[in-house]
């Protein structure tokens, strides 16, 4: 039992409760157990003793060995210290080197980093310097591009350095500078093209002229010339007019502005500038364009040059010039040009200058057409100028005509020999068949004025046609206009000169010759028309009746002839020397009357060249004048008394005149027409000499009566004179009976006449 419990305690580490219980409750009590336990302890002690005895030797050996190890350890320690110091010694340099190395590596790394950074900065800097050089070299557009690169690519990449900020700050300034500089360039350019545009225009005009004058012959000739090297023209120059101008500043400027985002502003600016320039160009430099062709040329060249350049800019695009803007500016300008030209040309009096100006304007128009610009209203201007040109020519020819007329003798041309004859026939179309057969000296019916004027009209037509050449008018229209102008020249200018001629009195014969001459000139107009159609190459038009072309001049001449004759009649009548108290008529007509009538018939025969109408008018005027003057003589208040003798003498004279009138002094008169002029006088004389008062007083106021043309006043006036004369003659003598009766009758008639007069008021 106690054994088992010790075993149990020995076998079980914990849970010793039950063992203790058994011990406590067991048979022998706890002394047995303590005995057994002591025994057990003595047993274990014996066993420990046995064991220690067994291992004691080994222990001593171990301690001995341990002491050995201790020395060894000490040895080792020394050795190790030694080695350690050795190592320490040797590694010290190494360590310093390593540290050095570390530092170097760090520097190296730093350098690499710096280089990296610097490499980033470098393009910026080179770009910046490039920018600077570009700006300096005025290559603004690349500069601007560089600037942009700098701003947007390079700068952000580099980082926030101070200098970068500076550069950044510099960028707007640079941009402005570039803008300013490019503007300056533009101004230079504008100035430059202002200078060049006349040259451009001149060149364009010249090219147009060359082109217009292009013909096979010319081309061949030019070719030959150039092959022979005659034309030393340098072909190095520009081929096109606009090539004279270097547009690059403009384009650069445009690019710059478009880069700057101010393209529209720039375009506006450019257009505004050019518009201003256009205004300047449109004001002629010389002021007086009509002074010389040179001024006109340079003016047109300048205008043309301006628009050629604009047109070029339109075609080269870039939007700098729009079609609308160009057309707008052009229409403004062309109106101004037209008005300038109009004012200038209207002052010109030199036809040659006008011709050259017209040529220039034509060239201008053609060139304008080449550049696709509308030409209106220039063609209209040319037409107006044509009218003015005609005016100028007419004025010039007025001078020519005046010269011709001033120096004209108005005598028929007389030629002494064939040569002279041919000379006249060559200049004037005259059907000389009849004259051809006559012996020299031959006499033409017209005066030298006729061929002279005819030649001058031809000259005028030549000059006139010079203007219309190249105007693009058809031959027919040209011819019609030329005919119109020529007939205007004759009917207005020449007739005007003729009329001026009539302002001073001309001898009768000259007047006659003028009328004859105008007839020949008029007949020659059909030849002039033929001439016109020949040189204009159009069909002959003969419809226009030229009949009345010189009518007014002829009327003037005829009037002058009439005046002339009337004046002569007056001169004769001023010689009148009537003795109003004549007792017996002489039985002969008065001298001045016979002289006058023979003079008149002489003159009228020498007027035979005149057209019938003119002769009739002349003789009418003369007879009418005679009748009026004679009648006035009779009724003249200054003549107080008229004796019946004087009355008979006057009657005799009137009869002479009536005979002349009845004798049809010129052909073409109505039967008895001239006599009508004397009718009033005749009735008065018949009434008084026939003493036919009863029928007069009976018929008075009745139409178609025998004395219808005698007014009571005239009858009374004459009767009074008669009475006065009779009273005078009978103042000393005693009146006979029949004389008394006569006196009585006379008084009655007078009274009646007075009454009639009063009735008439």
């Amino acid at each position: 039992m106690t054994n088992a419990t010790i075993q149990e305690i020995e076998g079980i580490d914990d849970y010793w409760g039950p063992a203790f219980r058994s011990v406590y409750e067991g048979e022998g009590g706890h002394e047995a157990f303590v005995q057994q336990l002591d025994e057990r302890i003595k047993q274990h002690d014996k066993e420990i003793e046995k064991l220690c005895n067994f291992y004691y030797q080994g222990f001593i050996d171990s301690i001995r060995e341990l002491l050995q190890v201790r020395s060894h350890a000490e040895e080792l320690h020394a050795e190790i210290s030694n080695v350690d110091s050795n190592v320490k010694e040797t590694t010290e340099s190494l360590c310093s080197r390593a540290e050095e190395l570390i530092r170097a590596r760090r520097v190296e790394l730093n350098i690499a980093a710096t280089i990296e950074k610097m490499e980033l900065c470098l393009p910026l800097l080179t770009t910046y310097s490039k920018l600077k050089t570009q700006v300096d070299a005025k290559r603004y557009y690349p500069a601007l591009k560089t600037l942009e690169q700098l701003e947007h690519v390079l700068l952000p990449r580099v980082g926030p350095y101070n200098w970068c900020a500076q550069i950044s700050a510099d960028i707007p300034r640079l941009r402005q500078a570039i803008r300013d500089a490019s503007m300056a360039d533009l101004r230079d350019f504008l100035e430059n093209i202002r200078k060049l545009s006349p040259q451009v225009g001149t060149m364009a005009l010249k090219q147009t002229q060359d082109m217009l004058g292009r013909s096979l012959a010319n081309i061949v000739k030019n070719k030959k010339d150039s092959m022979l090297g005659i034309s030393g023209k340098d072909n190095s120059g520009a081929q096109c007019p606009h090539e004279l101008v270097d547009f690059s500043p403009l384009h650069r400027c445009l690019h710059i502005h478009s880069v700057l985002g101010a393209k529209n502003d720039f375009i506006q600016y450019y257009r505004a500038q050019r518009k201003q320039q256009a205004r300047l160009v449109l004001i002629p430099e010389t002021g007086n364009l009509h002074d010389s062709i040179q001024g006109m040329k340079s003016y047109l060249s300048a205008v043309l040059g301006f628009f050629i350049l604009e047109e070029h800019l339109l075609t080269t695009g870039a939007g700098l010039v729009s079609k609308d803007w160009l057309l707008d500016t052009w229409s403004m300008s062309v109106t101004k040009v037209a008005s300038t030209l109009r004012t200038s040309t209207s002052l010109i009096t030199d036809p040659t200058l006008m011709l050259s100006i017209k040529h220039q304007i034509m060239l201008f128009i053609n060139t304008i057409k080449c550049y696709g610009l509308p030409t209106d209203p220039l063609p209209l201007l040319l037409q107006e100028m044509a009218e003015h040109y005609t005016e100028v020519l007419m004025q010039r020819w007025v001078g020519v005509f005046r010269d011709i007329l001033d120096n004209a003798s108005f005598l028929p041309i007389e030629v002494e020999n064939q040569e002279e004859y041919d000379g006249v026939m060559d200049t004037f179309p005259y059907d000389g068949d009849e004259l051809e057969t006559q012996p020299f000296p031959r006499k033409f019916p017209f005066s030298a004025m006729v061929p002279a004027v005819y030649v001058q009209v031809k000259e005028f037509i030549y000059a006139w046609l010079k203007y219309s050449a190249g105007l693009g008018l058809g031959g027919g229209r040209r011819a019609a206009a030329a005919r119109h102008s020529a007939s205007l020249l004759l009917s207005r200018s020449f007739t005007g000169c003729l009329s001026a001629l009539f302002r001073r009195p001309l001898p009768l014969m000259q007047l006659v010759q003028i009328i004859v001459d105008t007839q020949y000139l008029e007949d020659a107009t059909s030849f002039l028309y033929e001439f016109i159609s020949n040189i204009t190459g159009s069909e002959l038009v003969t419809t226009q009746a030229a009949g009345s072309m010189f009518q007014s001049a002829r009327d003037d001449a005829e009037q002058q002839i009439c005046n002339n004759l009337e004046k002569k009649v007056d001169e004769f009548l001023d010689l009148e020397n009537y003795d109003w108290l004549l007792v017996e008529p002489t039985g002969q007509a008065s001298a001045f009357v016979t002289d006058m009538l023979s003079y008149l018939s002489g003159v009228l025969t020498s007027l035979e060249q005149l057209p019938e109408r003119a002769r009739v008018a002349a003789v009418r005027a003369a007879t009418n004048r005679i009748a009026t003057r004679l009648r006035n003589l009779l009724l003249e208040p200054g003549v107080r008394q008229v004796s019946s003798g004087a009355l008979h003498q006057l009657d005799l004279d009137v009869i002479q005149c009536e005979q002349f009138a009845a004798g049809e002094p010129v052909p073409g008169l109505r039967e008895g027409e001239l006599l009508e002029h004397f009718a009033a006088l005749r009735q008065l004389l018949d009434l008084i000499t026939g003493w036919d008062w009863s029928s007069y007083l009976h018929d008075v106021g009745i139409e178609g009566g025998k004395y219808a043309l005698v007014t009571p006043r005239d009858a009374a006036t004459l009767l009074e004179k008669l009475k006065e004369a009779e009273q005078k003659s009978s103042v000393f003598s005693v009146l006979k009976k029949n004389e008394r009766d006569r006196r009585k009758l006379l008084d009655t008639v007078l009274k009646q006449l007075k009454q009639l007069q009063n009735q008439d008021g």
Binding site: N577, L582, V583, A591, K728
Partner: protein, 211 residues
């Protein structure tokens, strides 16, 4: 009615074509000269009133065409003429020689008592002269006619010539009047006529010669 003149003398200019008859007349009537030659066609006249010894004398001067073809027209005027100017051109020998023919013409056509005068015109053209003044003088004396050299261009002796001729006509006429008139009633034919009832042959005569 007041008369505008006391006497009317009809004068005639004759001579070759181109001697200057019209120019002389033009100078006398208008006191002007025209260099260009315009030959007279047929006949023309000019009137100028001059004053002679207080009398108004109207000169009706007939200018004739010198050209042969107008001869018939012009000779008709010889008869009524009271004075005839025979004109030649001192630079034209022929015109001078023809003076004799013109005188014969006068003798044939004009009234016998017509006053005559010879004018040597264009005496300003001394360089071209063909007829000396002495020869003119000689001829004039031969025919018992007055003579003077004239220049229409320079207005030399033209007035003188006409006045002389007019004066001679007037003297001749007054002499005739006196011969056929009582001595108390000399001249003043018109005044007489105006005052007297009786027609005087004197005034008749003066008018007759006008014919």
């Amino acid at each position: 009615m007041a008369k505008t003149y006391d006497y009317l003398f009809k004068l005639l200019l004759i001579g070759d074509s181109g001697v200057g008859k019209t120019s002389i007349l033009f100078r006398f009537s208008e006191d002007a000269f025209n260099i260009s030659f315009i030959s007279t066609i047929g006949i023309d006249f000019k009137i100028r009133t001059i004053d002679l010894d207080g009398k108004k004398v109207k000169l009706q001067i007939w200018d004739t065409a010198g050209q042969e073809r107008f001869r018939t027209i012009t000779t008709a005027y010889y008869r009524g003429s009271m004075g005839i100017m025979l004109v030649y051109d001192v630079t034209n020998e022929k015109s001078f020689e023809n003076i004799k023919n013109w005188i014969r013409n006068i003798e044939e056509n004009a009234s016998a008592d017509v006053e005559k005068m010879i004018l040597g015109n264009k005496c300003d053209l001394d360089a071209k002269r063909q007829v000396s003044k002495e020869r003119g003088e000689q001829l004039a004396i031969e025919y018992q006619i007055k003579f003077v050299e004239t220049s229409a261009k320079d207005s030399l002796n033209v007035e003188y010539a006409f006045y002389t001729l007019a004066r001679d006509i007037k003297a001749k006429m007054e002499k005739k009047q006196e011969a056929s008139n009582p001595p108390g009633a000399r001249s003043g034919a018109h005044q007489l006529r105006a005052n007297e009832q009786q027609r005087k042959p004197t005034s008749w005569l003066s008018r007759c010669s006008v014919l």
